[in-house]
């Protein structure tokens, strides 16, 4: 979950709990204090009635005007009146309202048992707080004192209204405060996290081939500033070590070129210019061949060092059909019985690219197939609506599915061992990948064990606007069954059928 959302949720829940607790506390306290006030008023009124010292009449006169009261003579001996039903049937003595009838039986029972009771009647604005007490009343001149029940009802509607209003106000206040706080946290979170997001965006731009990007460092000396500085320091060190490694590869390859050239040159000189014995020729040929192989490895390493340095290829309009023809012509000696064929339905399939490097792609893919034991390799170049498709299909042993993902890694070998079969450098496919990427293309691979492998290079078609001269003319559809351009290279005898008689 996004940090901003998490922050907002956590703080939102927290503040909701706090505000609610506060509101409930306010409500409860207010209610208690209001109830206490009401109770006190009722007690005072009751005290007036039961004071006994003054006459009942003067007590009634002192009651507040909104007070309901009822005085009942319970009688003596109070046998009958000690049951709820009997009590309810007691003689009303003085009253301005029949409070007793409204009293629930439980309250009456409490009055009988404990000599006092307190209960709330009705609801809303009609609420009434009723308290009752048992006491004695002075009867007539010769009747002495009589046992009596005093009931006082104080209207509590006002309090209920007040409390309801308070509850509504509190709810609204809590809701508004919660909303304001949540929005505030959200906005604050956004402001706090914005620099972090900037740092993240900048860090995402830093990739293997471009370590020169730096994250922005804001001015204030806060945590975000420190984070930016720390990331940039890390990038500095990373770039430095990466650069050191790349430079080392480049320098080492570079330094190796001179000895490799000297070894190959001298071996070649001995073979061609002196009269070595057959055994010596064999031995010198090995030296020359291995020196050439080393030379290729050195070149491949340099090419990848260049790729790592962010080198980009130089692009001009290139005919991939001819590139493929040249690649197949350039193939070094093929093992006996191996054939490489090119099929292209049209003489032209133009892309914007670097001809030498595209040739390298096809060369590497074909060489790779041969190194993997293929005896027939078919190269097909076709121009499609928006792309040029180059397929290199072989009848080799195929590639296990788990190895396909690693094919384009440097020095990766399908059999795991550095067997050195053929003369591959182990870098061919890594270079293929880099070159194809440089041409905005892709290289999907399909392989089935025991049947063979197809590497497909897809390159965007040359934009016709790029070439001033090449007009886009409609080409007649060519019968794909009659692929005219075919080269067969068998046992190193690479032949080019046409134009041969023109050359000496």
């Amino acid at each position: 979950m996004r940090l901003q959302l998490q922050l907002t949720l956590v703080f939102g829940v927290f503040i909701a709990v706090i505000l609610s607790a506060f509101a409930v506390a306010v409500y409860v306290l207010t209610e208690r204090s209001l109830s206490a006030g009401l109770e006190e008023r009722a007690e005072l009124a009751l005290a007036e009635l039961t004071s006994g010292s003054t006459s009942l009449t003067s007590g009634l006169l002192k009651l507040p005007s909104d007070t309901y009261y009822q005085v009942l003579l319970v009688g003596r001996p109070a046998t009958m009146a000690d049951t709820v039903a009997g009590f309810k049937a007691s003689v009303p003595y003085r009253s301005n309202s029949n409070l007793l009838l409204q009293l629930p039986d439980a309250a009456v029972q409490t009055l009988l048992d404990t000599q006092r009771t307190a209960v709330s009647l009705g609801s809303g604005s009609d609420r009434l707080r009723v308290i009752g007490r048992m006491g004695m009343i002075q009867g007539g001149q010769n009747q002495g004192t009589i046992r009596a029940a005093f009931l006082v009802g104080i209207p509590a509607g006002l309090m209920t209204n007040t409390l309801d209003q308070l509850a509504r106000d509190l709810t609204a206040t809590v809701a508004i405060a919660f909303l304001a706080f949540t929005v505030g946290i959200w906005v604050l979170g956004d402001r706090v996290l914005a620099p972090l997001r900037k740092v993240t965006a900048a860090a995402a731009k830093v990739s293997g081939s471009d370590l020169s990007q730096r994250v922005p460092v804001n001015k204030g000396r806060d945590e975000i500033h420190d984070l930016g500085v720390a990331i940039n320091n890390m990038l500095d060190r990373l770039q430095e070590s990466f650069e050191t490694q790349r430079r080392f590869t480049a320098d080492a390859s570079h330094e190796l070129r001179t000895p490799v050239t000297a070894i190959a040159g001298h071996a070649s000189y001995l073979v061609r210019r002196t009269n070595p014995s057959e055994e010596q020729i064999d031995s010198l040929t090995v030296i020359r061949r291995e020196a050439d192989r080393m030379g290729k490895l050195v070149n491949d390493l340099l090419e990848l060092a260049r790729a790592d340095a962010g080198f980009t290829v130089n692009k001009v309009p290139v005919n991939v059909v001819e590139v493929a023809e040249q690649a197949i012509k350039n193939l070094s000696k093929l093992p006996g019985g191996t054939s490489v064929e090119l099929a292209a339905p049209s003489p032209l399939a133009e892309v914007s690219g670097d001809a030498e490097r595209l040739k390298q792609v096809i060369l590497n893919l074909v060489q790779n197939a041969i190194n993997a034991g293929a005896t027939r390799v078919n190269v097909a170049v076709t121009q499609e609506a928006k792309q040029v498709r180059v397929e290199v299909l072989d009848d080799g042993s195929g590639i296990p599915p788990e190895a396909v993902a690693h094919l384009f890694e440097r020095f990766f070998r399908v059999d795991g061992a550095r067997s050195g079969r053929g003369n591959g450098s182990g870098l061919g496919l890594a270079i293929v990948k880099w070159i194809v990427q440089q041409h905005d293309g892709t290289v999907p691979v399909e392989s089935s064990l025991g049947e063979g492998t197809v590497f497909t290079v897809l390159l965007p078609l040359l934009d016709p606007r790029m070439t001033g001269e090449a007009k886009v003319t409609k080409s007649k559809p060519t019968d794909p069954g009659r692929l005219r351009a075919k080269r067969t290279a068998e046992t190193g005898a690479v032949t080019e059928p046409q134009g041969e008689q023109d050359r000496t």
């Binding site: 001298h266 210019r273 020196a291 003489p347 070439t467 090449a470 886009v472 059928p497």
Partner: protein, 229 residues
């Protein structure tokens, strides 16, 4: 082997790596050239002034005075062909090398056969007695060596580009229509594509790379022709 000449061509080798200088020297001698070797730029330059060789094989990374500077100073006073050898092969280095006045460029590790072929080609170019060449204005097409120079500058052509140029060069002044060209250069295709126009475009781009005059002209409604005007 070189054809017999009154004087064997003299080749100056300037290369600080003695092992490389050695086998180049041996190979060139075996090809019947006279050779002089020097191991640094200053010595190389003074040898050049003293001996006035027919061709210079020049390493780029030299002590004392680097190869580019040597090439520049030689070019101030002489048109002697210069072939640069280098372990650098980035495009920028190549451009700088050719800008400095060098005629050709080989990257180490190079094949000695390639170097010998280039030496032959450049010596032929300065020695017009050799046949197998077609000249149209400042364009020199060596049909045997399959090499093309414009104003002394070596131009690298792809196989098809050369075949197309060769067709024109063997018939200077002849106007070819697209059908004829396609039949001769792309005999395996039945036609219908604009491959000829595209390749004429490629050729023009390379032959006029430094803003030179156009030599392959469009004849409206007919085709193309190679001629001076």
């Amino acid at each position: 082997m070189m054809p017999a000449m009154e004087r064997r061509p003299l080749i100056l080798i300037v290369e600080d790596e003695k092992e490389i200088a050695k086998f180049i020297d041996l190979e060139l001698q075996a090809e019947n050239y006279e050779t002089v070797v020097s191991y640094d730029g200053v010595t190389g330059l003074s040898k050049f002034r003293e001996l006035n060789p027919d061709l210079v094989v020049l390493d780029l990374m030299l002590p004392v005075l680097d190869g580019l500077e040597v090439a520049r100073r030689i070019r101030k006073t002489s048109n002697t062909p210069i072939i640069i050898l280098t372990a650098k092969d980035a495009v920028d280095d190549k451009v700088t090398g050719l800008d400095s006045g060098a005629d050709d460029y080989l990257v180490k590790p190079f094949s000695i056969e390639e170097l010998l072929a280039r030496v032959r080609a450049h010596l032929r170019r300065v020695n017009p007695a050799v046949t197998g060449e077609v000249r149209v204005a400042d364009l020199v097409i060596n049909l045997e060596g399959r090499e093309v120079f414009r104003d002394g500058r070596r131009i690298e052509l792809s196989a098809k580009e050369f075949e197309l140029l060769e067709l024109f060069a063997r018939n200077p002044g002849k106007v070819f229509n697209r059908f004829e060209i396609e039949e001769k250069v792309w005999p395996e295709y039945t036609g219908g594509s604009n491959v000829v126009d595209v390749y004429v475009g490629y050729l023009r781009r390379k032959l006029e790379g430094e803003g030179e005059r156009r030599l392959i002209h469009t004849v409206r409604g007919v085709g193309y022709v190679l001629r001076e005007e």
